[in-house]
Amino acid sequence: MSDITLVIDGVECRAAKGDTILQVARRNDIYIPTLCWMEGLTPIGSCRMCVVEVEGNPKLLTACTTPAENGMKIHTKTEKLKQYRLQILELLFAGRNHFCMFCSQTGDCELQRLAIEHGMDKVRYPFLYEPFHNDATDPNIQLDHNRCILCLRCIRVCAEKVGAHTLDLEKRGWGTNITADLGKMLGESDTCVSCGACAQVCPTGTITLRDFVYRGRRNDCDDQVESICPLCSLGCRIKAYVRTGSVARVEGLSANSPDGGQLCHKGRWGLPKSTERDRLTAPMIRTGSSFREASWEEALNLIASKLGSASKAGRAGALLSELSTDEELSVVSSFFRDTMKMDKVDGFFGNMLRGFVKGFQPFADQGIRPFTGAHNILESDAIVVIGANPQEEAPVAASYIRVSTIIERAKLINLSAGKNPFDGITDADIRAALPGEMEKVLVSLREAVEGGPEPKEPAMAESARVLREAKKPVFVIGSSLAEHPSLVTEALNLAVASKAFFDDGLGVVPMLRGGNCLGALNTVIGESDWLSESELDFLYVLSTGMVDEDKRSLEAMTRARFVVVHTPFMVHPLVNMADVLLPAPAWFERSGHYCTLEGERRRMNMIVPPKGNLKGLSVIMDELAGKLGLELQPASAAPCENVYEAKSPSTSARTVSLKEVR
């Protein structure tokens, strides 16, 4: 990288070739106003706010798009430029409805901020007063064209980061407008994934999220806390805005990170909406059909007495949420497994995780880390989706797949029993029922990739060709595959045959669902599915209340004689099953670590302090141990970073025989 030197407003700046003038200026603390520009999105130079003068060039250049060149002498603050910028702001204000006091985004608006900054005390041009459409067809997102300045950020984020390309422009001239699906209302769109990214990047009050307007402007909020979303195994980074002790809204982080600052509909709405739910604030003990509040002492005594006898009879179990932090899982596991010596400990997703573990085992035995960071989907040139529905299982991973396919032109192959989740953008789509047919398909594909007989079926032949030519294929395997561990193994075999080798492991992205599934793997997941069969006298359930419980867990709770539910919210039907309710901190009151599919351990931060009569999990476990005359043992299971440590490089992986596995 060759260094160049240029002068901006008299300041000598060093830069790398390829940097834009704006990047150089920002790095040197020289302010250039921008409006359409946004970090991480392709600069388009449409708003013209960032125009600068370059000596020797009669034309004005947009700082956001013009590459810096050696020896450039740039002026960013001349009187002429100020006039031009003011004029642009006035034209924008006169073009549509920008009467700030009627706008929900006033105070949060970049247009308004620039107008104040430029001292725009009047608009010289008559207002157009032309009513545009206010698209309120979507239940969550409102698109008021009257406030649009056509910065095209929403279009760019939708195409470049979400890969949905729902939004684009229609019409010409001053009547140019944002439209969904080439002329539909947003609510009628087939391609919109309701992620709300468009609203996050909108600089004005054009695209807003109905649930969060009038909850407080960003600047009015008391605090902004960075944390992560626990809802799926990607663990997307979030920024939570706190107002009067409550989470007012949740947004993704910078568009410059690999995930593009994205959140999915679950994170964007599910997280802040949970603050409105009924909280459990004190321990409760069932009396008939209702509960009465109890002291911690009383509740723990009751629990200890039930647990003691049940565990002696081997009829006590613990069911733990995979949305818990590493620290929580360690504490609970140390109590039940190491202190109480119970073997009936499992997670809500236990069956699925056991399936993956079993399928991964032959490769883990080789010292291979059997998966890679999900963002590597963006680096790959061929993506094979096997029995997965990423838009449901990990929506941001679905965005990665779409972006990689549509923008980076990676090939996309889908193998599934049912509907193709990426209909329209797949290069090959193969239907195969689980498990038998799918296994045949996977085996014959692998053989073809390894140089065996070419499959006759065109989609299969195309897939084999793609995989033979691909340099960095990635295999996204769905949770449905985990019901048949041999399919997981065979999918990994195909990955090995296709040389899906990444630095951090084999090019496989399993759809693990729960936020800390990886962390749960060797702390709480049991050896076998005891939950489905056992008749229990005691069952402890740790729930975050953020995902619905599955049938298997609910049935086990119904069968158990005594159930302790430890949860932050009054979650039904979970609460109905409980004999004792223990209050837990909600996701925004907890901190700890998550082992994410992005390949890194991410920290969840406490956003607001816990409310109510809560006790820490380690305190509870310690007291319980004391009441049972035991001492809380340190956790024997290692925290998640040891899960599937890469002992050998992924390139050394070899395929395994399915017979061996069986």
């Binding site: 130079g45 013209r48 031009y84 642009i88 422009l169």
Partner: protein
Amino acid sequence: MALYRAHVLICHGTGCASGGSPKVLETFREELQKKNLDKEVLVIATGCHGMCEFGPIVVVYPEGTFYSQVKPEDVAEIVEEHLYKGRIVNRLLYKEPISAQKVCHYKEIPFYGKQHRIVLSNCGYINPDNIDEYISRDGYQALGKCITEMSPAAVIEEMKKSGLRGRGGGGFPTGLKWSFCAASPGNKKYVICNADEGDPGAFMDRSILEGDPHAVLEGMMIGAYAMGADEGYIYCRAEYPLAIKRLQTAIHQATEYGLLGENVLGTDFSFDLHIKEGAGAFVCGEETALMASIEGQRGMPRPRPPFPAVKGLWGKPTNINNVETWANVPRIMLQGAECFAAMGTEKSKGTKVFALTGKVKNTGLVEVPMGITIREIVYEIGGGIIGDKKFKAVQIGGPSGGCLVEEHLDLPVDYESLTAAGAIMGSGGLVVLDESNCMVDTAKFFLEFTQRESCGKCVPCREGTKKMLDILTRITEGNGKPEDLDTLQYLGEQIKATSLCALGGTAPNPVLTTLKYFRHEYEAHINEKRCPAGACQSLLRYTIDPAKCIGCTKCARNCPVNCISGKVKEPHLIDQEKCIKCGACMANCPVGAISKG
């Protein structure tokens, strides 16, 4: 090739074809068969002759007799008299508007006298659907010469020497542009022909594509060879179906002859050519928007740098030239740069094709050497103003151009002089305006067009031109304010400076030049609520001269809103409040008592 004693050339350009020339051609064939002349006389469909106003045009060779406005029913007479008996049909000859005399021969027509048809030399002369006719006129010789005898660098050097400048409007030296693309690293490059001619009233490119498509193909191939490109696109607007059809035929025939495709003429040079139809957006004539459109995106310009020569179509080095530029290339390479550079002025070489329209007697397509004066174009080629009214201005360069007035009549037409006078060469639209044209209305017309065609991407163009248009509309409706002129000037300059692409960068030109030369007309609209040219309907007043009115009531009976009152045989009166300015009264007055103004 069979020999014929006579050739009948029937224009099949869009103009003549819509005037019925295919039917004329068919009738010729039938009549000749009846007379058993079909083995002696060959009937050929040609491209445009330029005098579209007088179409359908039929030229009979070897005499070069020029028949205009030929209808199918005239054909029998031409066959019988001219082709059978050898007597020219006087009745159908072209009548010269100045001298009102019939002109027999093509070359005697003054419209063609001052012209210098280089690019258009084949138009109207050969059958564009037959590659052999192009080849017989030295077609594809230049390509052969370039790819077998010259190095790519030598071709570019020759182009530089010729001094050819882009005919699409910008006037950038073509050889230099080629050298940029040639110097860009990369083994995949594209050449593009910009045939998205969108200026209202301009049809230069269409006529070239329809009349001589192979010249464009040959030019592109020479360019591709020089720049190391192996793929090309012709981006042609879908409103030119005939041009697209002719191009398709030309590409098909050239491919069959081994002139296009793999290993052209047995050399290592290979070239693939596609046609991409535009969907009718003016802004797609802007090169970066054009490339976006080819890529399948919405046609919106993107900022430069990076320039297309570095990062163009699909991110590869790309060279875009206009139809006329490409069509010039084979001639330059065949006849040599010196021969081309001998024409024109010091900085503007060769010829330029203009679409001459407006208030001149001869409208049509003209090709003139650079440096010719506007007076020669208007008065000698154009035959002067219709009805011998007073010349007011020429609008040159289409919606991006500007107005030139009487004092500029002797200005030589070249890039520098036109730019200095506030207009631009543009792609070649030349509209002549006379005293009955209102300049405010003319500026409004062009701005309405550019505003409607703005892609909506950048703020100054999208919002600014709308504001200017609103002000102009107000002025033409009599609601202008004195400060409007300063606002127009200020807005116009700001839009020009800050717009992203040339559409916005030039859109205010018609307003700014008319403000410069016709400020008094604007002031009349604003201060006196009067349109001096009588063109702005809202400002018109129809009045009845009581001294002339004979009280025949004809005006009152024809008035659609019953706003004229008066008794029989007494002077009538128009109620200005109710009058809708339709002009029915004036048209019906038997004694000319009604005037407007």
